[in-house]
């Protein structure tokens, strides 16, 4: 079972690279949805199946795999954009930075004093790498929509960390995290529409007019 879980986690890292390197918004959203769906399966593989893990996997699948991609697709249909044009940092440098971050995550997690059960597991490096990819996404992209996507990936990273704690973490905390994510995407959606209406563009840079 552990091998299958590790395989899924490796897939998640590969999907990170795909999202970092792709300019088509539709493909990015689909990839993020796929990543979320894959992650939703991991707790089932890592832990014995119980009501708790089933609920966690089910709600994660519903939210990350279905609801949020649907919301984001609706947003891009409303504002009629297909591509991220002219990112702050080009795609190739972003990919290189992503590689560096992933390598750094693996090196760093080797140094951590882990419990014996978690040593050698891919969970921690994969979580760190996904967090890094989310950060990079938020730093390099200009559109509010891709920023929301970056946030989604960032949350996936946190979810991966949560996998280690499924036994210890109360149900309410997980539900809270998922709800928090949903609200964040909603807010981003509102911001997207507002920026679009105010400035006829989705560039977050326009928000800098709001500074003091």
């Amino acid at each position: 079972m552990g091998n299958l879980a590790n395989l899924l986690l490796l897939l998640v890292i590969l999907l990170n690279f795909f999202i970092l390197g792709s300019s088509r918004l539709g493909a990015c959203i689909q990839t993020a949805a796929l990543q979320g769906a894959l992650l939703a399966c991991v707790p089932l593989l890592m832990n014995p199946i119980s009501g708790h893990t089933l609920f966690l996997a089910g709600s994660a699948l519903a939210l990350k795999g279905v609801v949020m991609p649907w919301l984001l697709f609706r947003a891009i249909r409303q504002v009629r954009i297909r591509r991220e044009i002219d990112p702050m940092i080009g795609y190739v440098p972003t990919l290189i930075l992503g590689t560096v971050a992933t390598a750094g995550a693996f090196i760093f997690s080797d140094h951590l004093p882990l419990v014996a059960a978690h040593r050698g597991s891919l969970v921690i490096p994969c979580g760190l790498a996904t967090l890094g990819a989310g950060f990079l996404m938020m730093i390099t992209r200009r559109k509010a929509l891709t920023q929301a996507l970056g946030y989604l990936i960032f949350e996936n990273g946190i979810f991966i960390f949560g996998l280690l704690l499924t036994e210890a973490m109360p149900l309410m905390v997980e539900a809270g995290v998922l709800l928090d994510l949903l609200v964040a995407v909603f807010v981003m959606g509102i911001v997207v529409n507002q920026i679009n209406r105010e400035f006829s563009s989705l560039n977050v840079e326009n928000l800098s007019l709001l500074r003091e």
Binding site: M88, G104, I107, F108, H111, L112, P113, F135, L136, M138, I139, T140, R141, R142, Q147, V204, E205, L207, S208, L209, L210, R211, E212
Partner: protein
């Protein structure tokens, strides 16, 4: 203890309900001031009860926040400091009901929310037995009072006053936070019960803590040179809020200082010396500045600086003599505590009286007032009693506290050896100077505002305030007189607290015959003499009608009412002869030497030296240095995320290196 929590809940409920009734000002005032009065009354009853039976009650509830437990403790010291908070909270609530009624077009709900929050948070500050809870309540108190200061924020001067207050209070809170974290690190917890470990602090750490706590609490108490917010904030706030802030909130800082000083190990001599030096400087500076103010409430605020200076001076002597000269320490401690209680009573009374003048005659400027004793006799009488108390004249209560302080320094001059004996005697001389100037300041206030003829048209039409405003003033005036006529009323609670802090204090003084209950006899005799003289005067001249004639105008044919002693003129002699140049007010124009004088403009300003020459240039300098940091604020979300990312990476790297 549980009853006290109920009173807080009452305050909170009323405070939240009042803004909800915003559209109906009368209902909002009724709910807001009613709940404030009821909650304060309950708190007052609890404080009096706790002080009377002298027992310590407590309560502790755990929370999920690390370090924070909701632990409360009501011991004699806390109960003593609750007295002014809830007394002035109660009277201020009643007074405010009348004071705010005249202000049309403003919804009173929010005002009552912040008022109730202020009273409740002061009460929590005093009963908190956990440093974090203390700090939370402290911040709540600062913020609530900030919003009360800017009640009339439409005037730019009030907004500026609010800003200065907010800055001062936050800088002080930052120092306190530093101090509390140091304490927490050493004691291994934030509960006061764990702070017994602090008595083993090594000397340098203890001294650092003393400085942090002194500056942190001092900035709230009006310690020189951090008093700068007082003369700005007190005039800006509504009068019952000024009374509450000056009478009670400033005292919470003194409470904090005393409470935490008791945790620290026995003090080296220079702690008490520093406290005495700053206190004396504040007393001299405050009363000197007070003499130059033509704004009544600004003058009263400077007088608060002076009185806090006196209290700190006494606390300094207590700290200096603690463990070395028990009798001196007892005198100083009892003097400080008595003066704390007295100051709450008479300064509350004076601020309420000043508010009544403002309400009735429409101005705080002394040069617009005059002749108000005839137009507002009740307010005038209360102001006269308050002035008697603040200048420490019998038969009011102010004398008692100052007697202890003077006696403490005189005894110190006798007991200490060599050069050390010189300083207390010098301080006695300077205290006498402070007392003389206080006499000048308050005879000026009474003479210019209440005596003579009205100088402004609104003062001519002045009307007496309503019963809601007068009753609280009468209560305070009555308490001031009662404290003077029967000192045992004041000394009772003070001695109970002193027994809790320094157990041998009261018996020591009683043995040495140093409890001046005879002052009450003096005051009673004097009061009797005054009453008899008044009656005799009536009896000798039954209804003798004196014809009213104008004052002789030196032969000038067209005198106007403005041709009278101005407030500046009254204190000019003191300004010219006593003080150094730097303290003197700025005067422009007004001297005409030509034969046929033309139009002249006279300007008189007495800015705060510390603010103008110290803090404002300092902050301007810091701001100029910090403009480069503005570049960090790019306004781009990406850049902000990048900052977060780089900090996280740096932290992870640091962890990786450490492992």
């Amino acid at each position: 203890m549980q009853l006290l929590i109920v009173s807080w809940l009452l305050l909170l409920t009323g405070g939240i309900l009042a803004p909800a009734l915003g559209r109906r000002p009368l209902a909002a005032t009724l709910v807001g001031s009613g709940s404030a009065a009821l909650g304060s009354l309950a708190g007052l009853a609890i404080a009096v009860g706790a002080l009377a039976n002298g027992q310590t009650t407590g309560l502790a509830l755990a929370t999920t926040i690390p370090g924070l437990t909701l632990s409360l403790r009501l011991d004699p010291l806390a109960a003593f400091f609750l007295l002014p908070v809830h007394l002035l909270g109660l009277l201020g609530a009643i007074y405010g009901g009348g004071y705010l009624r005249g202000r049309e077009g403003r919804l009173p709900g929010l005002h009552w929310l912040f008022y109730n929050l202020l009273v409740a948070s002061m009460s929590v500050v005093i009963t908190a037995a956990n440093a974090l809870l203390f700090l939370f309540a402290w911040e709540g108190m600062s913020l609530a009072s900030f919003f009360l200061v800017i009640t009339e924020h439409q005037e730019p001067a009030n907004a500026r006053a609010g800003l200065i207050y907010l800055l001062a209070t936050h800088l002080g809170a930052a120092l306190l936070l530093g101090g509390f974290l140091t304490i927490g690190a050493f004691a291994g917890g934030f509960d006061f019960s764990a702070f017994a470990a602090l008595s083993h602090l090594p000397g340098p750490t203890a001294s650092l803590l003393f400085i942090l706590l002194l500056l942190g609490f001092g900035s709230k108490a009006g310690l020189f040179p951090f008093h700068v917010w007082l003369p700005e904030a007190h005039p800006a706030a509504p009068s019952h809020v000024s009374a509450l802030m000056s009478g009670a909130m400033v005292k919470t800082a003194l409470y904090g200082l005393v409470r935490f000083l008791l945790f620290l190990p026995s003090a080296p001599g220079w702690w008490g010396g520093t406290l005495m030096a700053l206190g004396l400087a504040g007393a001299l500076f405050g009363i000197a500045m007070s003499a130059f103010q033509s704004d009544v409430k600004r003058g009263l605020a400077y007088s608060t600086v002076e009185n806090v200076g006196l209290i700190l001076l006494a606390l300094g002597l207590w700290l200096f003599c603690r463990g070395r000269y028990p009798q001196l320490a007892a005198l100083a401690l009892i003097g400080a505590l008595t003066h704390i209680l007295n100051h709450a009573l008479f300064k509350g009374l004076l601020f309420l009286g000043a508010g009544s003048l403002l309400h009735g005659a429409g101005s705080r400027n002394l040069n617009r007032l005059g002749g108000l004793m005839r137009r507002m006799p009740a307010t005038g009488l209360c102001l006269v009693i308050g002035a008697l108390a603040v200048t420490a004249l019998p038969p009011a209560n102010g004398l008692l506290g100052e007697w202890f302080i003077y006696r403490g320094f005189l005894e110190a001059g006798v007991r200490l050896k060599g050069l050390a004996a010189f300083f207390p005697l010098v301080i006695v001389g300077l205290l006498a100077l402070v007392g003389g100037l206080a006499l000048l300041v308050f005879s000026r206030l009474i003479g210019i505002a209440l005596g003579g003829e009205p100088r402004g048209s609104r003062a001519d039409l002045a009307h007496e305030s309503g019963a809601l405003m007068l009753v609280p003033m009468f209560v305070l005036a009555g308490l001031c007189l009662a404290g003077g006529l029967a000192p045992s009323l004041l000394l009772g609670p003070v001695l109970r607290v002193a027994k809790a802090i320094e157990p041998p204090a009261a018996p020591l003084l009683a043995q040495a015959g140093l409890l001046p209950l005879w002052l009450g006899g003096l005051a009673q005799g004097l009061a009797l003499l005054l009453v008899l003289t008044a009656l005799l005067g009536r009896w000798r001249k039954p209804r003798a009608v004196t014809p009213a004639v104008p004052t002789w105008g030196c032969g000038y044919l067209f005198p106007t009412r403005r041709m009278a002693y101005s407030a500046e003129g009254f204190s000019e002699l003191a300004g010219v002869s006593f003080f150094c140049d730097c303290l003197r007010p700025r005067i422009e124009g007004g001297r005409s030497m030509r034969l046929f004088p033309g139009r002249e403009v006279f300007r008189h300003q007495a800015p705060d030296l510390v603010l103008e020459a110290g803090f404002l240039p300092l902050f301007a300098w810091v701001a100029a240095r910090c403009t480069r940091l503005r570049r960090l604020q790019s306004g781009l979300v990406h850049i902000y995320v990048f900052y977060i990312f780089s900090v996280i990476v740096a932290l992870l790297g640091w962890v990786a290196i450490r492992l």
